[in-house]
């Protein structure tokens, strides 16, 4: 089913699910949503499987025309989205009708916004994933970012649309995005390549995200991290969130589209629960690394997974559509709330 038409594309909008696993040994990067939390919650909100594909929007600019009425959810960064020029709330299931316009306008907070749709984005599964990896020309729309005039197909919803409309993510489950963050790390795998002074610097100063940062990794700048001899290693595997330090001493955090293997020593690895926080930071933002241990990191991960599993959505009933010519409003008069139905005569 045709879901959307791209009226205007942003700089780099791609279709992403949770990633392409199982082929890293052939050199195939994992890719997937940079902020997997936002994608998962958005999918659950709409009754989709957590790993369903949505659109990752990495800067304001995208404007879509709705081709089939459905329910959407916008999660992650707040790009002041609008539906037909009226502000659209984020982290909420919103009904859209054929002909509606959805636009992402300016950055209010965060770095990546996700547009999810009931039934998900319908593109072929390539090696078990719909994620776009542009360098390998695979996934999404012919392995490339969205362009003007693209038609994006959508799947069949798993739940009845009226049941989904008005669902909201409770505010406690909505992250706040900051311009400065503490990011927790576990040392290794090549921490023995660095000097004591190198560690002291790495864990005590702020590092700024530079403009040379993308889905592959964030290049940071700050005080130089000193290595013992050389920071070249014999090429080995690169996990998500690993922090490479080349000879110049400036760390690079490896993210979703990272290459599967590389030859720079990795001083540390960002813990899983802090990856999404990092993915919502942009150039100019500052990071302070703090040390965690394995036990703590895995406990935090377990807690987060439990929070996601236990998540109960709220249901909003303010502007529920009853029939084509009746609307129900909640009206507050002198602290009392009334339900008012307005019908066209």
């Amino acid at each position: 089913m045709e879901g959307f038409k791209v009226i205007k594309s942003g700089i780099f909008d791609t279709i992403q699910d949770l990633g392409r696993f199982g082929f890293q040994r052939y050199g195939m990067p994992v890719s997937g949503a940079m902020d997997s939390y936002a994608l998962r919650i958005g999918n659950r909100l709409l009754g989709n499987k957590e790993n369903e594909a949505g659109i990752e929007i990495s800067s304001p600019g995208l404007s879509l025309e709705v081709l089939s009425g459905t329910v959407i959810g916008i999660t992650g960064a707040d790009f002041n989205p609008t539906i037909n020029n009226s502000p659209a709330p984020i982290w909420e299931a919103l009904e859209v009708k054929k002909g509606d316009n959805i636009s992402f306008n300016q950055i209010k907070s965060g770095c990546r916004s996700y547009l999810l749709v009931a039934g998900g984005i319908d593109v072929p599964n390539m090696l078990g994933s719909k994620s776009t990896y542009t360098r390998g020309k695979i996934g999404g729309l012919k392995g490339r970012p969205l362009n003007k005039y693209d038609i994006i197909n959508i799947g069949n919803p798993n739940q009845k649309l009226p049941d989904i409309i008005g669902r909201k993510v409770p505010s406690i489950n909505i992250p706040n995005y900051h311009e400065e963050n503490e990011i927790r790390i576990i040392l290794g795998p090549q921490d023995d390549y660095f000097t004591k002074e190198g560690f002291r610097v790495f864990l005590n100063y702020f590092y700024e995200i530079t403009v040379n940062s993308d889905r592959m990794g964030y290049r940071l700048k700050g005080p130089k991290i000193e290595s013992k001899n050389s920071s070249d290693i014999i090429t080995d595997g690169i996990p998500l969130g690993s922090i490479q330090v080349p000879q110049d001493g400036m760390p690079i955090v490896m993210l979703a589209d990272r290459q599967t293997t590389g030859g720079y020593a990795k001083i540390a690895t960002v813990i899983s629960v802090d990856i999404d926080k990092l993915a919502q930071m942009k150039s100019g933002n500052k990071i302070k690394f703090t040390q965690a241990n394995l036990k703590e990191a895995q406990r935090l991960l377990q807690e987060r997974e439990k929070n996601i599993t236990d998540l109960q959505f709220e249901k909003k009933e303010t502007t529920e559509l009853k029939s084509s010519n009746a609307r129900i409003f909640k009206v507050k008069i002198e602290e009392k709330i009334y339900k008012v139905e307005i019908k066209e005569i």
């Binding site: 050199g27 090429t235 290459q259 991960l301």
Partner: protein
């Protein structure tokens, strides 16, 4: 080779098992044996593994397997690693058009090695190259076994775009670009073979532990093979390793 395998933490969802700190077939054999042994065992919670030159990275889901349980199971397998026999390796033949516009740096490699162009091609095609690992780009093979006689440093200024299929030399390494990419290798030729084809259900031609062997072709043969590949009517010659 280390007397004892190192278990290195790589965050909260991966461990690196390091067997040594050198590029050698012996160390790499241990990596692939353990990789093979773990894959056969189907250990609960392991999501993916990537064998590299001298280490194996194991990605796992800590919700499904505890770190202590996982490392214990891997150590057990490591103890019986000598009993593992790997499947027979194979050799894939890679037709390559050397020189001219397809290999703009062939002349330089010949000059640098004080050899004739013919000799460079002969040396580049006479021996099988071992596939230590794949990585860096989809389908990119890290090869060993190129003769030191044609060892040539990288370009001083990398090219902005090296075409897909380009065959190059960087120091003592030789390799093939699976997709177009910026690069600093000395380009000596090009193969019409696709090491990575995203249009295919399984896009990768090669795997670690096998071998490739380059052989020279002319422009007509190149065009012919290219046409057959487009028609999905071409398979590389593959034979078991060690047999002529």
């Amino acid at each position: 080779m280390y007397p004892k395998t190192r278990y290195l933490l790589a965050g909260d969802r991966a461990i690196v098992l390091e067997f040594g700190n050198e590029i050698s077939k012996e160390v790499n054999l241990l990596v692939r044996k353990l990789y093979y042994s773990i894959s056969k065992k189907n250990i609960e919670g392991i999501e993916e593994m990537v064998p590299t030159y001298c280490s194996l990275i194991v990605y796992y889901n800590p919700q499904r397997v505890k770190y202590s349980v996982l490392t214990k199971k891997i150590k057990e397998l490591e103890n019986s690693i000598t009993e593992i026999t790997l499947p027979t390796a194979c050799v894939t033949e890679i037709p390559t058009l050397y020189g001219g516009e397809y290999g703009p740096d062939l002349k330089f490699v010949a000059q640098h090695s004080k050899l004739s162009i013919k000799e460079v091609i002969k040396i580049h095609t006479e021996k099988e190259c071992f596939i230590y690992m794949l990585g860096f780009l989809p389908g990119f093979v890290y090869l060993g076994g190129m003769s030191d006689k044609i060892n040539t440093p990288r370009l001083e200024k990398p090219r902005l775009e090296v075409l897909e299929g380009s065959v190059g030399i960087a120091g003592k390494q030789t390799g093939i670009y699976p997709i177009g990419s910026p690069g600093g290798w000395q380009i000596i030729g090009r193969t019409p073979i696709k090491l990575y084809d995203p249009q295919k259900k399984f896009p990768f031609l090669l795997k670690s532990g096998d071998y490739i062997k380059f052989y020279p072709i002319n422009k007509e043969q190149f065009k012919e093979i290219e046409k057959k590949i487009d028609e999905e009517n071409y398979n590389c010659k593959v034979k078991p390793y060690g047999r002529v």
